[in-house]
């Protein structure tokens, strides 16, 4: 048995305001070191809330029950300063919109090095060297990109965010819909990159996505969520080929129908009649 990377046990969150809506219901998820886990579901499923709980982040207006241990540390009970240090040393988050992660007023070099310098007490030169190495890992030209501003690398900004994440050598990478805001072709690049950096660094990966096929291409295990609850957990192959829950089956069917993977004779795109000019 390998060392557990994280264990979420019986996590329940209820909003205090309004009607006391339960946004997470007895969620239990775990992973061992180096594993890639996909949290899948539609909006309101609780997948982002679960992922953020691994960072010790919970909605301020929610009552929280249950435990979240990352590398054996109970992150929900850590004081703010200790939590910050724990996160800086062990966990990195890649969010959906790279423009929200990067300060547009600062150059890429500052973005990549400031966390390392603040949290690891690295010299400017050493931080720069590590930033350059991380940029190389994500296929960007360090000399050029380190001197750029965020708007100058618009197409590759999510790569820069991934570089920032791997530069601090985290044990756990959390990617929350990392490719959803991007164009289709860049989406594939980001997913491919994420898969590569996670495998190379040996870091565990939690990938939050609404697309089960995207998750399947990266993850060892899948967790299907709906309306705050875990519907199904299993190896990627199991969940995809032999889904147990009706909801998982419906989700796979909808995904495949829309992605054009299944033939739908009753739709115009599959009509055999010759098209018009």
């Amino acid at each position: 048995m390998t060392e557990p990377l994280f264990e979420v046990e019986d996590l329940t969150m209820t909003l205090r305001a309004g009607h006391g809506k339960t946004i997470l219901r007895s969620v239990s998820v775990g992973a061992s070191a180096g594993e890639a886990i996909g949290l899948i579901g539609e909006s309101g499923a609780g997948k982002s809330t679960t992922a953020r709980a691994l960072l010790g982040m919970t909605p301020p207006e929610a009552a929280v029950h249950g435990t979240v241990r990352v590398l054996g540390t109970d992150v929900l009970s850590l004081r703010r300063s200790r939590l910050q240090r724990f996160r800086a040393e062990n966990v990195a988050l890649i969010a959906q919109d790279p423009r929200a992660s990067v300060n547009p007023m600062h150059g890429i070099e500052v973005f990549l090095t400031e966390a390392m310098r603040a949290n690891r007490n690295l010299s400017k030169a050493e931080a720069r060297r590590r930033a350059a190495a991380a940029l190389e890992q994500v296929g960007l030209d360090p000399e050029k990109v380190l001197r750029s501003y965020p708007h100058e690398v618009s197409g590759g900004l999510q790569r820069v965010v991934i570089a920032a994440a791997v530069a601090v050598e985290p044990r756990l990478l959390i990617a929350d819909e990392p490719s959803t805001a991007l164009d289709v072709a860049s989406q594939a690049t980001v997913i491919s990159l994420l898969r590569r950096v996670a495998r190379r660094s040996g870091a565990g990966l939690v990938l939050v996505t609404h697309n089960i096929e995207v998750a399947a291409s990266v993850c060892d295990r899948l967790v299907v969520m709906r309306a705050g609850s875990v519907v199904e957990t299993g190896t990627t192959d199991q969940v995809l080929r032999r889904p147990l829950a009706e909801y998982t089956r419906a989700l796979i069917e909808a995904t495949r129908a829309v992605s054009g993977a299944t033939d739908r004779d009753d739709f115009p795109g599959n009509a055999t009649e010759s098209a018009h000019a």
Partner: protein, 277 residues
């Protein structure tokens, strides 16, 4: 018989707020787009990434943008939907309706679906209050909206329910052509599939034509009998859906198709940098 809609050489440039690096002062959003919807019941999908010009085409078809040059014929007659004359706009709007991407923005937050649909019918002079009320119920039913939802406020409706209202509103005047601009892109996977099935059912029942603008290749493949692939204002490839998707000729189309996450999808096989044409 003339084509339902014929579009020739549509072109649109936008002035740039500041000159580009190479000194250009304007941006060519659409650079000569032509296509035709042969007859009622025919469908076209326009697919492209952000900045390809696809939405600008949709907006010109409904008169929300005025092209620099190019012509639109509707049922054999030249039309200029961007003209502001009320009578012309009214007549055209009766025949060509648009459904927008974001159902949260396109509905008046203060009107219930019943009021919203009734308003459209009243403006277009449909019968007495009694006749309109029957028609509203019929419209709600045809888009699969539960009758009690007709009297809720838009904020109480889910994204899918709102988009059903938006479709019902477009159908209220019995148009022969719908322009759908990313009409399912804001919806969850399973809701997306339900709305696509709805649009397809309405197409068959009402012999409705549509131009479906989308960034999603799977959606384009499914919904368009004829598909146009746009990139940087140009149509790089077009043809019957099966031809474009099963035997793509242009490297850009090939790239986009490899980018669709599907069963056994390999994001490593997607190389945007290799497509330069």
């Amino acid at each position: 018989m003339p084509e339902l809609m014929k579009v020739e050489g549509l072109r649109k440039t936008f002035p740039l707020p500041t000159p580009a690096a190479d000194g250009r002062r304007s941006f060519v959003a659409v650079d000569g787009v032509s296509f035709a919807v042969a007859r009622p019941g025919r469908t076209i999908a326009i697919v492209g990434e952000s900045g390809s010009g696809k939405s600008t085409v949709a907006r010109m078809l409904t008169g929300l943008e005025r092209p620099d040059s190019g012509r639109i014929h509707f049922e054999g007659r030249p039309v200029e939907p961007w003209r502001r004359r009320r009578a012309d706009r009214f007549e055209y709007a009766r025949r060509v309706q648009m459904v927008f991407q974001d159902p949260y923005l396109s509905l008046d937050p203060r009107l219930t679906p019943r009021q919203c649909l009734d308003e459209v019918l009243r403006v277009h002079g449909t019968g007495s209050k009694h006749v309109r009320s029957d028609r509203v119920a019929e419209l709600g039913e045809s888009v699969g909206l539960r009758p009690e939802l007709l009297d809720s406020m838009p904020r109480q409706l889910s994204g899918g329910e709102r988009q059903r209202v938006a479709i019902a509103r477009a159908l209220a005047v019995e148009p022969s052509l719908l322009i759908l601009d990313e009409a399912v892109s804001a919806l969850d996977v399973s809701t997306q599939w339900l709305v696509l099935q709805l649009i397809n059912r309405l197409r068959r029942e009402l012999d409705l034509s549509y131009v479906f603008v989308t960034h999603d290749l799977g959606v384009a493949r499914l919904m368009g009998a004829h598909v146009l692939v746009m990139r940087r204002g140009l149509v790089v490839e077009e043809g019957p859906s099966a031809q474009v998707f099963d035997n793509p000729q242009h490297p850009y189309t090939q790239l986009l198709i490899r980018s669709i996450p599907g069963d056994g999808w390999n994001p490593d096989a997607v190389h945007p940098e290799e497509v330069t044409q």
